[in-house]
Structures are given as structure tokens and as C-alpha cells.
């Protein structure tokens, strides 16, 4: 019970901090909007290659991208807590390291998910055929995508030594995950080596699942939905266990 209350407290803290940072929701709205409205409308493909407008094609990918960037960025909160000493207050509390990790993960996930939902709303502007039902089906997938990515961000950040080195993550982890996820291009037209790489990227399956749900039958999905869900879910489990483990072992 104590542990549940502690997890709740840590979650609440992250959410409160998020809403007090007024610029963050706004700035996070701008980035996906730029991708969709400018990049998305500038790129054009012959309809033989892509049966739907490119803008609509990348829309599920941009939702996943928002979640990815936010999740990885939120990892920085661990470094922040450490630099400003607050981590010590949590670490000496009579709760397990696992609970600390879970609390932090749920908090960061909530923030990333809110950003994802904001991006989802952009779909109305670019006239993707979405409604409440689509949203309700897409939401659990977004939650699943978020969990795994937040764990990556947290686990990496907790072994980082400074804010500067977190920039390295951006170049060597975030962007590669983004570019090899098929968020921006159709994998069937990508070269074979790139296709091979994308299959190792958990986000590929998240993007594919979102695309299947949001764009319906307009596109041929890479995998059946249940395979996507199994892989993303399996990845989540693995990352939560791995993250809890590494966090518990840290001094």
C-alpha cells in the first residue's frame, strides 16, 4: 500500500510539474504541426506509389514521433532531479527503487501521452477521417508505444552524467529510432538493408499499428495488428523490467 501511494505521489509530481510549465504544451504542438503542415504538404508522391496524400500518410508517424521525442526528452527529468538534489529525497525514502522507477515512468508517460493526444487532434486540420471511435482504439496503442519509449529515456538518462550528454542521446538514439521507424516513408519502397534495420526497431510496429487503426484499409499494413500489439507489448514488458533492474542497481 505504501508503495502504491509512493508511486501515485511520484506520478502526481510529474504531472503537476508538466502543467506548471506552460510553454511546453504549446511548443510541443508547434513541432508536429510544422512537420504535418509544411513538410507533409511539400512532399508529393505519384498516386501509384502512395494511394493517400503524403500528409495523411505521415500523420500516424508524427503522432508516434511526438511521443518519442517527448519520452526521450522527459528522461532528462532524472538528471534534473539529481542535479537539483531532489533525487536524494526520493532515494532515502523507505520505498523500493522499483516503485521510484514505476512512479517516474507513469508520470513521464502521462506527459508524453498528453503531447501525443494534442498531436492526434491535428488530424482534424489535415482532414484525416478520424472520429471518437478511432481515437478510443488508437489511445491504448499510444499508451503502449509511450511506456516502452519512456523507459528507454529514463534508463539512459539515469546512467548519464550531465545535461550535455543527453544531447548525445538525441543524435544517437532518438533520431535513428525516428528515421528507421517508417514514420516518414513507406517501407515497401525502401532499400532492403533499411527494411532489415526497421524490423529491429520497436517503434516500427507502433507506427504500423497506429497507421492500421487511423488510416483503415487505405494502406496495406506491414503486419497484422495483433503482431504489432504483441511486439510493442513485449517490448514494453522487457523495458520496464530492464529499467527497474538498472535503476535498482544504481547507487
Amino acid at each position: 500500500m505504501t508503495e502504491v501511494r509512493a508511486i501515485y505521489t511520484l506520478w502526481l509530481r510529474e504531472v503537476k510539474r508538466y502543467f506548471r510549465e506552460r510553454v511546453r504544451p504549446i511548443s510541443s504542438f508547434v513541432q508536429p504541426a510544422l512537420w504535418l503542415l509544411i513538410f507533409g504538404s511539400a512532399m508529393r508522391f505519384p498516386s501509384a506509389e502512395l494511394p493517400i496524400p503524403y500528409q495523411q500518410f505521415i500523420y500516424p508517424g508524427i503522432i508516434a514521433q511526438t511521443i518519442l521525442f517527448t519520452s526521450m526528452f522527459m528522461g532528462i527529468s532524472v538528471i534534473w532531479d539529481r542535479e537539483f538534489g531532489f533525487l536524494k529525497e526520493i532515494l532515502v525514502a523507505p520505498i523500493s527503487r522499483g516503485s521510484i522507477f514505476i512512479g517516474k515512468m507513469l508520470g513521464n508517460s502521462t506527459d508524453a501521452l498528453i503531447q501525443g493526444v494534442i498531436t492526434f487532434m491535428l488530424g482534424f486540420i489535415i482532414q484525416v477521417p478520424i472520429d471518437l471511435l478511432v481515437f478510443l482504439i488508437a489511445l491504448p496503442i499510444m499508451v503502449m508505444v509511450t511506456f516502452g519509449l519512456v523507459c528507454i529515456g529514463l534508463t539512459m538518462a539515469s546512467s548519464m552524467t550531465s545535461f550535455e550528454s543527453f544531447g548525445v542521446i538525441q543524435s544517437f538514439v532518438t533520431l535513428p529510432i525516428f528515421f528507421t521507424s517508417g514514420a516518414l516513408f513507406s517501407l515497401s519502397s525502401a532499400p532492403a538493408w533499411l527494411q532489415a534495420v526497421t524490423y529491429f526497431n520497436p517503434m516500427t510496429y507502433g507506427v504500423d499499428a497506429l497507421r492500421t487503426i487511423i488510416l483503415g484499409g487505405a494502406l496495406q499494413p506491414l503486419f497484422p495488428l495483433y503482431i504489432d500489439i504483441l511486439i510493442v507489448g513485449g517490448f514494453d514488458m522487457a523495458m520496464i523490467l530492464f529499467g527497474t533492474f538498472t535503476f535498482s542497481r544504481r547507487k
Binding site: M1, T2, R5, A6, Y8, T9, R13, K16, R17, R20, E21, I79, R82, E83, F84, G85, F86, L87, K88, E89, I90, L91, V92, A93, P94, I95, M160, T161, S162, F163, E164, S165
Partner: protein, 329 residues
């Protein structure tokens, strides 16, 4: 005697450096125990081990009867800690920081509410409780941290350099709270400091620690007395004459003359001083100036730890490493 803390050869090494070397101390229930030492003497390392943040390399200790190595969770539940560096969330309000602590320590929420109110009043922050911590001054943050450390009714409170970097007014305030606490609550307090006045004012017993070892441990007065006699310095043109006369009395034990100066070692300075003046007046010797020097805790400290300045290691640390070093110092 009931001990709230008992260490048994508590030792911590960092590589080749022995930060804490077979520490053996006993802290009595209800006392304010001071750990005094120069920078890098091992104060914070000792406290970190007692708070179960750091594992000892060898040896162990009991805090409130719980073993710090085998029962860290029980130890944590029964202690309160105020770290040397700030450890509050500055994006939350004062009350939110307090509530978080209550939740993390599993204090029932109705109890917590009352307790938080009382404590905020104690540290005079009840009116600022709804403001974000980032608007607090350094002294206010410290006060909040002290209040926060008490929410879960700890039986031992650790204060690591509680007034470091604060202005004299705030320090005075914090000392008042600490005194009040040790009087009103059933609590024992361990504090580290390198401020002599702080240790002198607050602590019932003081352990001077240097290079990870206890070099002296006693009540402040006893420590001062152990250093020996007080000295009286006199300036007079007839120093030689006066010294001859003083030697024939029982007033002084040792006397040294140099030019117009005279230094006499005495037992009970405050009573001896007027009698020396009297004696000089009767003999028609004019005294230019006279002063009494009673050894203070600073003299005791320098006596045991030497006069050399302790350099912090000159290496450069970044980010996490620096933070970690701060954490273990």
C-alpha cells in the same frame, strides 16, 4: 543508558582513500550530538552510512536499534534527514513538498495534515506554504527542509551542515528551532558542522573528527577545559617588575616576558584578572592594557586538527560525478 546510535568499527573507503576509519560512537537518547571536523574529514560520509545511503566497506552500526546494513528500510522509516545540499522540488509549493514527503513515508493523511500545519508554523512558513519553492530564499528552503524531515515523527534527526551559507539572522532562527525541537519532541539530533559557534550553542556532546577518526569526544566545556589554562596578556612598561611580583604569588602558574609584554597562564581567569590589576596598582605599576583569553571551541578544534588548510581535491568533476562527490562528501 539507552543509545539511539551505536557504531561498531564503521569504515568506508573510496579507492585508496579511507574516508571513515573504524568509527565508534554512541549517541544517547535525547541529546544533540555534534560531528565537528574540517572539510573532507568524513562527517558527511559517516552520516550517509548511518542514513543507509552509502554502504559501509566494513563494520556496521545500529540506528534506533536497527542494523544499517541488514535493516535499511526500518532505519529509513525511523530517521529524518536534512542534507547539506538542497533537496526540494522548486516547481512545487512548500505544502506540496511536505505532502509528498508524507506520502513517501506512508504517514496517514489525516495525521499528516495536522503535522504539516504544526511544523510549518514551527518554522514560520505557514503563510508562504502555498507559494512555489522557487520563490523561497535559501534560508526559507532550509527551514522547510527541516520541517519536512520531521513529518514522519522520526526518532533521530540528521542535520548535515544545517546552516551552511546562511546569513546570521537565519542561522540564529534555525538554532532556535533546533533547540526547541530537542526540548519539545522525543528526538535525538545528530548534526555535522564546521562552525564552532553552532556546535557550542547546540550540542550536548561534540565529536571532533579528522581523517575519518574521532580525535576528541566530550561536552563542549570539558573539551575547552581539557586544553588547559587560560592566559592573561598585559602590556606595561614595567613588565619585568610586575612579573617578579606576580611570581611570588599563587595567582599565576607560568609567566613569560618579552619587552613591554607579559603573558601569564592562570587558572580562573575572570577572578584572577582583577587581582592582578589590584596588585599592580598597589605596587604603583601602571598597566597599559590587559586582556584575558579563554580557550574557545575554535582553539580546541585547531588543537586537535592542526592549522593546515584542507584542500578539496583539485580534480575537476562534472555533472553526475560532481553531484555524487557532493553526495558522499
Amino acid at each position: 543508558m539507552e543509545y539511539v546510535i551505536e557504531t561498531k568499527d564503521l569504515t568506508r573507503k573510496f579507492g585508496d582513500l579511507i574516508a571513515v576509519d573504524h568509527l565508534n560512537i554512541e549517541v544517547e537518547r535525547g541529546e544533540v550530538f555534534g560531528l565537528l571536523g574540517p572539510n573532507g574529514a568524513g562527517k558527511t560520509t559517516s552520516i550517509s552510512m548511518l542514513c543507509t545511503i552509502l554502504k559501509p566497506t566494513s563494520g556496521t552500526a545500529t540506528v534506533n536499534g536497527f542494523d544499517i546494513v541488514k535493516q535499511p528500510a526500518q532505519v529509513r522509516k525511523s530517521i529524518g534527514i536534512v542534507f547539506q545540499e538542497p533537496s526540494v522540488d522548486d516547481r512545487l509549493t512548500g505544502r506540496e513538498n511536505m505532502e509528498m514527503h508524507a506520502n513517501l513515508y506512508g504517514v496517514p493523511s489525516d495525521t499528516a495534515k495536522k503535522r504539516i500545519k504544526t511544523l510549518l508554523k514551527l518554522v514560520e512558513l505557514d503563510e508562504r506554504a502555498c507559494h512555489l519553492l522557487r520563490t523561497y530564499s535559501g534560508g526559507m528552503r532550509r527551514r522547510l527542509e527541516i520541517a519536512r524531515g520531521l513529518i514522519h515523527y522520526p526518532r533521530v534527526l540528521f542535520l548535515d551542515e544545517p546552516t551552511i551559507g546562511l546569513d546570521p539572522q537565519t542561522r540564529e532562527h534555525i538554532w532556535t528551532y533546533i533547540k526547541q525541537l530537542s526540548k519539545e519532541e522525543d528526538i535525538s539530533i545528530i548534526l555535522t558542522t564546521h562552525y564552532m559557534d553552532e556546535a557550542d550553542k547546540l550540542c550536548s556532546r561534540i565529536a571532533i573528527i579528522d581523517y575519518g577518526k574521532i580525535v576528541a569526544l566530550d561536552a563542549s566545556n570539558n573539551l575547552k577545559e581539557s586544553l588547559g589554562e587560560e592566559t592573561i596578556a598585559i602590556r606595561t612598561s614595567e613588565a619585568r617588575e610586575l612579573s617578579q611580583r606576580l611570581k611570588s604569588t599563587e595567582l599565576v602558574s607560568k609567566i613569560a616576558v618579552s619587552g613591554n609584554g607579559l603573558t601569564a597562564h592562570v587558572k580562573n581567569g575572570r577572578e584572577t584578572l582583577p587581582r592582578i590589576v589590584e596588585l599592580a596598582a598597589n605596587a604603583g605599576i601602571h598597566i597599559g592594557s590587559i586582556s584575558l583569553h579563554e580557550p574557545d571551541l575554535g582553539d580546541v578544534f585547531l588543537h586537535y586538527t592542526g592549522r593546515a588548510i584542507r584542500e578539496e581535491e583539485g580534480k575537476e568533476y562534472h555533472g553526475l560525478t560532481a553531484a555524487r562527490r557532493r553526495a558522499v562528501r
